[in-house]
Structure formats: C-alpha cells, structure tokens
C-alpha cells in the first residue's frame, strides 16, 4: 500500500484509461452490504466498500441524552462518526477531532432530511458509525451503512441515502476514489442522493474543478448512487427474507 508520506506520485491513469487498481473512470469499487449484524442495536449494518470497512448501529427513537437537546415537536438525530485508531496505516489518535465532528454533523443533517422525525417528538435517534478500516470515501460508506441501519431499525424515512465520492485524478473525472487517488488527485466531491426525488442532501468538495467538470462529476455521482441504492435495497431484502431450513428443504 502506498503510504501517506510517499514522495513519488503514482501513475493514476494509464494510456488505456485504466486507473491505479485497473478500474475504468466510471467504475465503483466492489461493495458488500449486510443489514443487521448487531442484534443488540435497534438497527445495524456493515459495509465493505473496496478496502473500507464500516459498521453502523442505530439506537432509537429513545430518551434524549443530554436532556436539553430534546425537541418538543420532533426527534433529534444524533450521529457519531468515528475512525478506529487502527483504521489507517499510521495510528490515528483516537477520539473526536475537527474532521470527525464535521463529518458527524453533515451526516446527521443528511439523515434529518429523510427521516420522519415528527413522528417521535421528544426522542433521539442515535446513529453510530465506526470506521474499522479506511481507504478514502469513508463518509460515504458511513452514510450508506447508517442509512441501511436506520431502515433496519424500522425508522420511517422518505428514502434510503446512497452516497459516493467523485473526484478528479490526472485531469479526468473519476467515480469512487480510492486512497492513492484521493491523496494525489486534484479534487474530491462526496455526495449523498435521495434517489426518489433526485435531491442531493450532502455535497462537499475539496480541491478544484471547472464548472463543466463539476457538472460531469455530479452526473457521474448520481449514476453511482443509483447502483449503490440497489445494493442497499438488496441487503435489506436479504435480511428480511425467509429461507427454508436445510432440514425442511430436503
């Protein structure tokens, strides 16, 4: 694995238009989603996305802690995004930092726009997102995991929230950056989509893109989100489908 400190810029795009891991510009990394791995939580999900591994647990609606955050007309949605100390090559100092606070906030706000919070006044819906292994795009993986976990918790929502990052590597717009592309690329644009309405509820950007590039990146991201959306639905169907026992099938 290329380390953060590497001075050599790797070849991000070869002559045939293949990326560092052999993908085309519009190709996602492999994604696996499992709903309900944590029986004790009200809802949970585990997402493996490329080399990212992210676990999400949802508790609630439940009593609000601390009390003063309680809202009399709707549920508050609290999110904690956290990266494990061992999630990156070089040990990450554990606990809250500027970056994780920001990501927690934007993810919570993305969920607020899809959850029917008015149905549970004076309660809290708590979404915990733990990044166990990170390889660029963890806020998107966290959003996907958190969203499936919310659905697994039976919480009413407008829609699931697929998310993906689009970036600019070696001058080209590319879907779903991996670590080397994120580190040495020119731009990174994570987004979360409400598929039914086409609304974006999270959009951030680091680096620079021209206006035509941004338009292209948004289109590419929306297409990527639609693919992820199907995988999220499939994971939930799998969790709630009933397969006959081996003994009965025989």
């Amino acid at each position: 694995m290329g380390s953060v400190g590497a001075k050599e810029v790797p070849v991000l795009l070869d002559a045939e238009g293949r990326r560092i891991d052999g993908r085309r510009l519009d190709e996602l990394r492999p994604i696996q989603i499992r709903a309900g791995p944590l029986p004790q939580a009200d809802g949970s999900a585990f997402v493996e996305w490329g080399a990212n591994k992210v676990m999400a647990a949802v508790y609630g609606p439940r009593e609000v802690h601390p009390r003063h955050l309680q809202q009399s007309t709707k549920a508050v949605i609290q999110c904690r995004y956290n990266m494990a100390a061992f999630s990156v090559d070089e040990r990450k100092r554990p606990g809250l930092d500027r970056r994780s606070q920001e990501i927690s906030k934007v993810i919570a706000e993305a969920f607020e726009s899809v959850v029917f919070a008015e149905e549970f006044p004076r309660t809290s819906i708590d979404v915990y997102i733990e990044v166990l292994q990170a390889n660029a795009g963890t806020r998107c993986a966290g959003l996907v995991a958190g969203s499936v976990a919310l659905a697994d918790a039976g919480i009413p929502m407008v829609d699931l929230l697929p998310a993906v990052a689009v970036g600019k590597v070696a001058g080209a717009i590319a879907l779903d950056l991996k670590k080397e592309e994120d580190n040495f690329g020119e731009a990174d644009l994570p987004m979360a989509l409400v598929p039914q309405s086409g609304r974006l509820v999270l959009l951030q950007m680091e680096g620079h893109m021209t206006e035509p590039e941004l338009a292209k990146a948004l289109d590419l991201g929306v297409e990527g989100c639609k693919v992820i959306y199907e995988k999220m639905k499939a994971a939930l169907r799998e969790r709630y489908s009933v397969r006959p026992l081996a003994a009965e099938a025989a």
């Binding site: 309900g36 009200d42 004076r122 697994d152 918790a153 009413p156």
Partner: protein, 229 residues
C-alpha cells in the same frame, strides 16, 4: 424496512423490526429507571420512558414514599392505558395480573416476534411452560420475564432464541415441542409444570394480582431448592 399498508386515509409502512411502539391495552414488562415523589419512570423499550403514577398502583402510596414500593431496577408488569399526541405513554398497574415481579430474569425478543411466542390461542406459551416448568410473563414490548429454577430459565431462554431466529417460519410450535421433549433433562421438569402465565388479554387473571410478587418469589426459591437437592 417494513410492509406497505396502502389503506386510506394515509399510505404507510408498517415496520418489520425496531423498537416497541406502544398500543393502548398492551401488557408490557418494564424496569424502573427513575423514582420521583409521585411517580416512577419505566423503561418499556418504547421511544419514551413511561410514567407510572402512584395512583395507578394497587398500593396506598403516600407522596414521597414511592421508593418504599419500587426502586430503580425493579421489574414490573403494567398495561398501556393511553397515548397522547406528544408521545407520552400512560401505564397502570392497578389491575389483576399486573404488579411487581420478584426474582426471575428478563429476556428480550423482538416485539414483532411476540405473537409467535404466544402462539395461536396461547398454544406456544402453553407448550413452553408445560415442558419447562418455568413461569413466564410476556410483554407485548418483547420483554419476557422468566421465573423458576435455573435450569428451567435456561431452557426457556433457548426456546426464546429459537423463536427469535425462526420467527417467520411455519410449524414453529411443533419444532419447539420436539426440541423441549428432546432436551428434557429429568422427569422432574414435568412435575413442576403448573405453568402459570400472565396472559395477554383473555385467559384467567387468576390469583396473580398485586400480591403476585411475593408468591412468585417463593415459587422461585422453592423450585431452586428442589433442583439442588
């Protein structure tokens, strides 16, 4: 995740999982989380804690004396009386079959599985109590109080796990019965089978009134002694 209910006036999704959503009339098992001078707060697994007012008990409680009757951590069987628009849950304990639970242990299953645990006409729960000799109080909230010998409690726990894992499959009552017959440790289990159940809505309220707690505790100790001898 849930099932679509397209009936007017509103299309809605009935969740297949998640927290217990209280309904008036439901019998639930809860634990005391806070004690105030005129009421207790109960965790019944719902979105909010449910206040149990001192007048909703079978006891004559003086203001400020609430802690003499129920302390934090105590388990109770109560009934949901009403819900208001702000999500406040009113519960009562002043009815036959409700009261404080002494001894035993509380297990959790998904609220969605409770109808399977009761079974058609109470057949599943009758099977379980008959074969294990345990006493079981079922809460619609998926909290299940189990009393009896350590062995009986463990067997009920195994069955609860079976139900949790095999909820939607048919023929579960028969499977549970086969499992219980196959794992009967001694014949003693059958002798203990007086299987008192706190039923959901029908069934005999029986003698399990306010004083049930003490009797249950005695029963628990009694069967434990038998086991050890």
């Amino acid at each position: 995740m849930g099932l679509l209910d397209p009936r007017p006036p509103v299309v809605q999704v009935v969740p297949l999982s998640g927290r217990y959503l209280p309904k008036p009339g439901d019998q639930v098992v809860g634990t005391v989380t806070d004690v105030q001078s005129t009421f207790w707060l109960l965790d019944i697994g719902a979105p909010r804690w449910a206040p149990l007012h001192m007048t909703g008990t079978p006891w004559k409680v003086e203001v400020g004396e609430t802690e003499r009757y129920l302390r934090v951590g105590d388990a109770v069987v109560v009934r949901v009386e009403n819900l208001d628009a702000t999500g406040r849950i009113g519960v009562t304990m002043a009815e036959e079959g409700l009261g404080k639970l002494e001894g035993g242990t509380i297990e959790r299953i998904s609220p969605a599985r409770v109808p399977r645990l009761v079974g058609r006409g109470g057949s599943m729960i009758a099977t379980i109590t008959r074969h294990t000799g345990a006493e079981v109080a079922i809460g619609q909230n998926g909290r299940i109080w189990v009393g009896g010998s350590a062995d009986a409690i463990q067997r009920v726990r195994d069955v609860l796990q079976m139900i949790e894992e095999n909820g939607p499959r048919p023929g579960l009552t028969d499977r549970v019965e086969r499992f219980l017959l196959a794992t009967t440790p001694t014949s003693a289990g059958a002798e203990e089978a007086d299987g008192r159940v706190l039923p959901r809505d029908d069934g005999p309220p029986g003698e399990d009134g306010a004083g049930a707690g003490d009797e249950l505790a005695d029963g628990t100790r009694g069967s434990r002694d038998e086991d050890e001898s």
